[in-house]
């Protein structure tokens, strides 16, 4: 319901902080949207560690990071799209198509250089995302409907393409699989890649004209248009970038997991949206950050491992994820109500 409230300033927007000059910097930090999810993540890790010290053993940490890598990349891409008040439900299917494509590239052209595979995967993902973007911007139909359609179409294509075929770890070069085994300074290589993605996208969203435009579009598309922002082009770019990131996730998926086939990435879309929402990205656009979305992704994947480490019945996991999503939405609501009240009070004072 952020649409009815006055657009709450994005957490890392420099302008509002400067305007509220009298306010302490500390208060600003306390209101950061990433804070509740970061706090929850820390509590979760600490409690689990106390219950089972093996949870943070080198191997345990590595598994945690590896498991969340793909989700982080997908959540960052999804956050970009959601901030513009759109949504992309087709990411699971894009990931599946690209992952299977990667597998078949290695199978058909043995000895193909790994960077080329990455480039092809990224381009393929971007193409699929661009199709979404074109349909959404040209037809002016809600993204929910369009991407629900492409979710089915892409999934059907990958079913038709893959059939019963599956590619296993033996089909790909050793070096490619090692990407998700080798570590650098204790971090798996592909996790570092994901972190680089988060940093780059976060800087672009916070500091560039195009990134700020996305927030403006999400807060009020009509006002953004009046203001002279090329709404169609920006939204199209958001979808294309999301597709590109889903493509990257697809290639990494092929590296990380033992087999890729027709069902790879099935049903992932709602988990990704959930990660972004848990990370404080408002579903109606205009607020939230990719860092929050990445934290949300880490939180959701860590819960799975934490429950296993605490020997909680694994069947509880999904219910807890559901409760977390609802909690995130309620926190979001409370925060936007408080922002609205604060704005009202400060405006009244100015008069």
């Amino acid at each position: 319901m952020t649409q009815t409230a006055p657009p709450s300033p994005a957490p890392n927007a420099p302008a509002p902080t400067a305007r509220r000059a009298g306010r302490s910097r500390f208060g600003g930090i306390l209101r950061l949207r990433e804070l509740p999810v970061a706090f929850a993540l820390i509590v979760l890790v600490v409690v689990t560690y106390a219950a089972n010290p093996l949870f943070l053993s080198p191997q345990g940490t590595k598994d945690l990071l590896l498991n969340s890598t793909i989700m982080i990349i997908l959540a960052v891409g999804q956050a970009i799209v959601i901030i513009t008040r759109n949504v992309d439900l087709s990411v699971g299917s894009i990931l599946g198509l690209v992952a299977f494509g990667t597998g078949s590239l290695f199978a058909t052209f043995p000895g193909i250089p790994i960077p080329v595979v990455f480039l092809i995967g990224l381009a393929f993902g971007m193409l699929l995302g661009a199709i979404n973007g074109l349909l959404v911007t040209i037809a002016k139909v809600p993204a929910l409907v369009i991407t629900l359609g492409t979710l089915y179409i892409y999934r059907g294509l990958s079913n038709a393409w893959a059939g019963g075929t599956q590619y296993f770890a033996d089909d790909r070069p050793e070096a490619f699989g090692n990407l998700s085994v080798d570590t650098f300074l204790g971090f798996p290589v592909i996790t570092l890649l994901a972190l680089a993605v988060v940093v780059i996208v976060a800087v672009v969203m916070a500091g560039t004209r195009g990134g700020r435009d996305l927030y403006a579009i999400g807060s009020d598309p009509d006002a953004a248009k009046l203001f002279g922002i090329p709404v169609g082009r920006r939204v199209f770019t958001a979808f294309a970038v999301n597709g590109l990131l889903a493509g990257l996730a697809g290639v990494l998926y092929a590296s990380r997991f033992n087999s890729v086939g027709a069902t790879t990435g099935n049903g992932l879309e709602l988990d990704v949206v959930a990660a972004a929402v848990v990370g404080g990205v408002a579903i109606f656009g205009g607020s939230g950050s990719v860092v929050g979305a990445a934290l949300g992704a880490v939180l959701l994947t860590t819960i799975t491992s934490a429950l296993a480490a605490m020997r909680v019945d694994k069947f509880w996991q999904q219910a807890i994820v559901g409760v977390l999503i609802l909690a995130a939405i309620i926190i979001d609501r409370v925060a936007s109500l408080r922002t609205a009240r604060r704005l009202r009070i400060s405006e009244a004072r100015d008069v």
């Binding site: 409907v145 359609g149 492409t150 709602l270 929402v277 069947f315 559901g322």
Partner: protein, 359 residues
């Protein structure tokens, strides 16, 4: 129409002499028979009939009572849940948790039956669980006022998770054979499943509520503009709340049907069905923005997807590839009106330019 009217009035205020001519040139909304025979619903029904005829001619073994039976049994869950979903989308909200509610009901009745309760009581409790789950959604959306898309993504995970908690990875299959037999039985030689009687009653009930009661007409007003609806005296929160309760109840019925048809209660029953339902509802002409749509259109949409899938399956098209058809139909059905709209606007502008003196 309202958009063109306002354009019209600004145009005529500039050029007051030409009023009648410009107004006459404007395309008007259809009325009477032409509205019924050429409307969006009618087109869907023609498309459905055409598909059935083509399938009967070109697909061997399609034209038989067996087809009717299996086709209807396949579409019943989607058809049932599509009813409350139509009403909810018309009010501008959405419910993504329906399939999870069906799964939760399925798991619960399995466990309750295993625990030795009377089957009648088990079924009643199943519906009650659905109603409670729906009321929970309704409370969060209508009373607290949270965005329904986000809330029902959350409850989608929550209810499916509870289904897992209830039944784990077990399956309960030993339901009374009379009952499971009843759910797959046919009405005489027609091939129509007996449960269709109940389904038709539910469909009719939702159709009457939406199209012929003040409550139903109020839902359209609600979808166009919640503020305006409140001013004309529609209970916005209360209407939405009861829609979600209805959605929970009907989803529970679909869950019961699913369980007894396949004679298997599992936590992952009906998973992913929510997207199929929404696809069918939107194909049936309901606008995702709210305020537009009808029950006959949605029924035709559900049956159209069901028929195409069934016919292609008989024609040896692989099951998993069929979802391309659903996706393409969905996109085509939402893009066509907006392209038609663009053309109409262009024509309007041209006409306006012609009738206005060149300054």
């Amino acid at each position: 129409m309202s958009e063109t009217n306002t354009k019209e009035s600004t145009a005529t205020s500039v050029l007051s002499a030409d009023t009648t001519k410009t107004l006459r040139d404007e395309p008007r909304g259809r009325t009477g028979w032409s509205r019924i025979l050429l409307g969006r619903d009618a087109i869907m029904i023609y498309a459905l009939i055409a598909t059935i005829v083509v399938a009967m001619i070109s697909v061997p073994r399609f034209a038989s009572p067996v087809t009717t039976g299996f086709l209807l049994l396949d579409v019943i869950p989607v058809l049932l849940i599509a009813m409350p979903m139509t009403l909810i989308i018309i009010t501008g909200e959405i419910d993504l948790s329906v399939a999870s509610i069906a799964g939760l009901t399925s798991a619960s009745i399995g466990v309750l039956w295993q625990a030795g309760f009377d089957i009648g009581l088990v079924l009643v409790l199943g519906v009650v669980i659905g109603l409670v789950a729906g009321a929970f959604n309704g409370f969060l959306v209508a009373v607290i006022g949270l965005p329904s898309l986000a809330v029902t993504i959350g409850t989608l995970a929550l209810f499916r998770g509870l289904a897992l908690v209830v039944i784990g990875d077990n399956a309960v299959a030993n339901f009374p054979p009379e009952l499971t037999g009843f759910f797959t039985s046919k009405l005489g030689a027609t091939g129509i499943p007996t449960v269709m009687i109940g389904v038709v009653i539910i469909v009719l009930a939702f159709g009457v509520v939406l199209h012929f009661t003040p409550f139903g007409r109020g839902l359209y007003a609600l979808g166009y503009s919640p503020e305006a609806a409140r001013f004309v005296g529609i209970h916005v929160a209360r209407s939405k709340f009861w829609l979600y309760v209805a959605s929970g109840g009907v989803s529970a019925l679909a869950g019961i049907f699913w369980t007894l048809r396949y004679s298997s209660a599992r936590s992952d029953n009906a998973s992913g069905l929510e997207l199929a339902v929404i696809a069918a509802v939107l194909l049936g002409g309901v606008s995702i923005f709210g305020g537009k749509g009808s029950i006959p259109g949605v029924v035709a949409g559900v049956l159209l997807i069901g028929t195409i899938n069934y016919a292609l399956r008989l024609g040896r098209v692989s099951d998993v590839v069929l979802i391309i058809v659903t996706g393409t139909l969905l996109i085509a059905s939402v893009i066509t009106p907006s392209i038609a709209d663009a053309i109409r606007r262009r024509r309007h502008d041209q006409r306006l330019r012609r009738s206005l003196p060149q300054a």
